[in-house]
Amino acid sequence: MSAVVKLKTQGAPAAPAATVAHLPLAPAPFRRAARIARDLTARVLPPLVTLVLLLVVWQVAFSGGTSALPAPSVVWAESADLLLHPFYVHGTQDIGLGWRVLTSLERVAYGYGLAAVVGVLVGAVLGQSVWMMRGFDPLFQVLRTVPPLAWLPISLAAFMDSRPSAIFVIFITAIWPIIINTAAGVRNIPQDYRNVARVLRLNQVEFFVRIMVPAAAPYIFSGLRIGVGLSWLAIVAAEMLTGGVGIGFFIWDAWNSSRLSDIIVALLYIGMIGFVLDRLVALIGRVVTRGTAEG
């Protein structure tokens, strides 16, 4: 005990007595608010600055009277109503962009929904059977590289109508990543789970619902997420050709009547919706697969 004290007294003069300055600490709620504000600035500020800079560059570059494309100020002046009133209706062809987006989303919902169901089922069969895999995989690998619009003429020929054709294009575009990912997920189901199913004598349907889908869910959802992005790409392109009410046709129509500002606003809509769709599927995936991570 005394030795310790001695050591301490010897050591003390060498180091100057630590001067601990007690900073006035804010009360806990304020500190938490401050931290949230700091996090928010760290996340929101950089993209905001980038956006403003881009707009400034754009404005400066396209402000001359001779520029082919409108500057942001021109876009705002000409097409602000499209942004501010997405859901106006002034006649059958003169409707807000919100309605057009909804029309496009409806087609995506049909085509993508069908692709999700068929894709997961076909992927499950492929993942389960080595021979099916060997038979179909090369075919699928070739077909998945076909660009969405290349399917359009043949589907127009088959359906003789633009609406089912557009839906088919969505379907055929979105299905490949869903099939391929589901098959990979099913192939990777641990043998242990299969053994459990065999001991319990689960039948095919029970195995599919109780084991296969949850076990392969992370893979399935990564396929679904790629698929939803592709179908949004495809619908805009398909609508430009098939006409109707969708956002894709709006762009084509605006181009034909030289409303460039409208096109730029439409691009903004498409980008935002695509982003939201991607995040939505990702979110559903996170919620659904929360329990599947092996602990």
Partner: protein
């Protein structure tokens, strides 16, 4: 007398032209309610033997009879407690057991009875408190308890344990061994346990089946453990019969059938 009869069973795995004989001429008869440990060096095919009994793997030669019926496919009458618990991570502890109970007793028990039966089996392994947890949220020992509860809940004719405690620390393992002994005493199940732990084999088993090294492994020796039940870990450890059995197994494993790495 014979409840499970394994006659002249052999297993050869064929991979293209390459054939590897893992087991040859396995003969073993197990009585109802008996606890049998199978011990051997790693790679001797003891897990293969268990899979054959479970029906997860098909025999190449010979046959297995359980309660007068031939074993040729997996089924809940031969429930398996897998080495790495094999609980489905997306289901809660309750739902993992419930899945088995629903499947096995769909026709014979009502919903309420099945619910009670799940809880009863979780009680047996003292895991009722964790019924709503997912496997990732409980410890390794607890997961293995749930694995045992799931197997017990199927009311199997024979319970197959494939190195169930191999991945657990020594203290947890001791707790689970006690739990298994207690369950065996209470329910009188027929149990077959694969292990590579000599003490575990001696403490738990009525008979110890010792396997020779592969390839073409077979049963080298069968030792009866003459320890009275119920057995108590500390008392048993000093019992001359325990020590003698332990020594016999050690002698078999390390003198007569030393593990040769080059064998594979």
């Amino acid at each position: 007398m014979s409840y499970l009869k394994i006659s002249r069973v052999g297993k050869t795995f064929a991979n293209g032209a390459r054939r590897s004989e893992v087991l040859r001429d396995i003969d073993l008869t197990i009585a109802k309610g008996e606890f049998v440990s199978i011990i051997g060096h790693s790679g001797c095919g003891k897990s293969t033997l268990l899979n054959l009994i479970a029906g997860l793997t098909e025999v190449t030669t010979g046959g297995i009879l359980l309660d007068g019926r031939e074993v040729n496919a997996p089924g809940p009458d031969r429930a398996v407690v897998f080495q790495n618990h094999s609980l489905l991570p997306w289901l809660t502890v309750y739902d993992n057991v419930r899945l088995a109970v629903d499947k096995v007793f769909r026709a014979t028990k009502s919903r309420a009875e099945r619910h009670d039966w799940v809880l009863h089996n979780l009680d047996l392994v003292q895991m009722r408190h964790a019924a709503d947890k997912r496997p990732a949220e409980i410890s390794g020992g607890m997961r293995q308890r749930v694995g045992i509860a799931r197997a017990l809940a199927m009311e199997p004719k024979v319970l197959l344990l494939d190195e169930p405690f191999g991945a657990l620390d020594a203290l947890t393992r001791a707790h689970l061994q006690d739990a298994v002994m207690e369950i065996h005493a209470r329910l009188g199940n027929t149990m077959i346990m694969i292990t590579h732990d000599v003490d575990e084999a001696v403490l738990l088993a009525d008979r110890i089946v010792m396997m020779t090294n592969g390839p073409a492994a077979t049963i080298g020796e069968v030792l009866t453990v003459p320890l009275p039940r119920p057995r108590e870990r500390i008392a048993a450890a000093g019992d001359p019969a325990y020590l003698k059995a332990r020594q016999a197994v050690l002698r078999f494993l390390y003198e007569r059938h030393r593990f040769v790495e080059a064998a594979e």
